[in-house]
């Protein structure tokens, strides 16, 4: 065990002095995506990364998940460094399009079980259980494109949950949905997570989604990403839709927006001059 885990509440994920650059330093096309970012994700918390599009939220999530190796700094998961995907420690939920369309819903689960060494006798039960938890049990034999976008996303969510890891990384999982479905799935997610007690890192650019789901919201700056502010949402899970009607909800949402407004503008100017030259100026 590492000596780091001595704080009052243990950190499930520790991000230490992370810097990531795309392309070689000094090259014209080089982009500094993340600049010396440190962050602890406490065990069992729901943490949202919120920031303007293109700010490096997804890059940060991919680094935490071991899909991208950072230029500098390190990520510790339960005290051990992440330098490759470790599907037994953390599971990813991507946008809906990553269900394999050539496999049925249940085959999409078993393929993951197979390579994670889950005993064949458990495949069926674990698939059914995970699908049932999102209300999709009767669609096990459907192909993904026979389902609606919202149903596919439920299945995708279930695939992440079925992995049985303590940590779930979610990259804008509801981005492809309309606002109503998004809110409904968000409620379900809140209920589901209150039961499982998983640690979750969730990337979004929806303010309402961030406030509704998170224990803490990490507001990120425009590229190169660093932490601008962290807002705590002190409201127990599962959260009910009534929470959205409370004045506190709007207040938190407005605080997020106020903090991000300048960053969103900065990001938009940067997109106008695509290579992010502002960082060098």
């Amino acid at each position: 065990m590492s000596a780091e885990v001595t704080a009052a509440r243990p950190a499930a994920i520790s991000v230490r002095h992370l810097t990531h650059r795309f392309g070689a330093e000094g090259a014209a096309s080089s982009v500094l995506a993340i600049d010396n970012l440190s962050l602890d994700v406490v065990q069992g918390e729901f943490l949202c990364l919120l920031g303007p599009s293109g700010c490096g939220k997804s890059t940060l999530l991919n680094i935490i998940g071991g899909l991208v190796i950072p230029t500098e700094g390190e990520v510790l998961v339960h005290g051990r460094p992440m330098n490759r995907p470790m599907p037994d420690r953390l599971a990813f939920v991507f946008q809906e399009s990553t269900l394999f369309p050539w496999y049925t819903v249940s085959e999409n689960f078993t393929i993951a079980f197979k390579y994670r060494g889950v005993a064949r006798s458990e495949w069926r039960d674990r698939t059914t259980e995970a699908l049932a938890s999102v209300g999709m049990a009767e669609f096990a034999r459907h192909y993904p494109n026979q389902l609606s976008v919202g149903m596919r996303q439920r299945v995708n969510l279930a695939r992440g949950i079925a992995a049985g890891t303590d940590i779930l990384l979610m990259d804008e999982p509801f981005a492809a949905l309309d606002e109503q479905s998004r809110m409904v799935l968000g409620e379900d997610l809140s209920v589901l997570l209150a039961r499982t007690g998983k640690t979750i890192v969730f990337v979004t650019h929806s303010l309402a989604e961030a406030v509704f789901l998170s224990d803490r919201i990490v507001l990120m700056s425009a590229r190169p990403a660093h932490i601008k502010q962290i807002i705590t949402v002190d409201q127990p899970h599962p959260r009910l839709p009534e929470f959205m009607l409370e004045p506190r909800f709007s207040e938190l949402r407005n605080r997020c927006y106020a903090a991000l407004r300048d960053e969103i503008r900065a990001a938009m100017t940067m997109q106008a001059s695509p290579l992010g030259t502002s960082e060098g100026a």
């Binding site: 991919n62 998940g65 899909l67 995907p85 470790m86 599907p87 037994d88 599971a91 990813f92 991507f94 946008q95 399009s97 990553t98 394999f100 050539w102 496999y103 393929i111 993951a112 197979k114 390579y115 994670r116 992995a163």
Partner: protein
Amino acid sequence: MKDSPAASRLIQLGFLTAALTAWYVAGRFSAIPPLFLPPIDAVWSSLNGLIRTEEFWSAIGVTLSTIAKAYGIAVVLGVLAGYLVTRSRFLTAVLEPVISALFSIPITLFLPLFILVFGIGTASKVAYGAAYGFFPIALNTIAGLSRVDRRYLAAARALGISAFGTVRHVMWPAAFPVILTGLRIGFFIAFASVLGGETISSVEGVGRNIALSAELLEPARMYAWIVVVVAAALVLNGAVSAIENRMRGE
């Protein structure tokens, strides 16, 4: 009704009947010199006699086995080459345009070389058909495997699927429809190449018999052979489409 498959079949059948009738009428009134187009009934009776001979069936056997060998080699080498090339993005960038450029060269130019190397027997036709059929198969395999959606590959990595498992469960099924198109084109190119090669230079097979009938000024017999090839092409096309639809799960 206009868009129904039955209607289009009916129109296709109508065209065929019209063509055959035109052929019959032309023969009846000697509109075309019989050396170029003998009457349809002469071709029919020639065909009737032909299928009763042993040489007919042995020629069919030779040609079919030559096509099978040529296509088999083209499939194995084409898919393997496509797979190996796409193992590296650099190699794909280097070799894909090269293979594509080679495919634009008429490989028929090399038929005399194949005959020089492999002899006048079936081996040169196998090599020629395999060489020609190789290209569309290799090119489509490269296209399919190198353009797999990267989100699927990221998902596979995140799910912990091994490198071999990713090829088998993600890359192969993602690329399969594109590869299947290559397999189909490759088949018809191998088929045409073997028959063409036999017609140009060989000692046996269907193509050789067509060339020989023409040399001996027996147009009815030549057309009888051509009818056999056309019939075979139609049957094979139907069979290939059926297999393809089945594999695409339609």
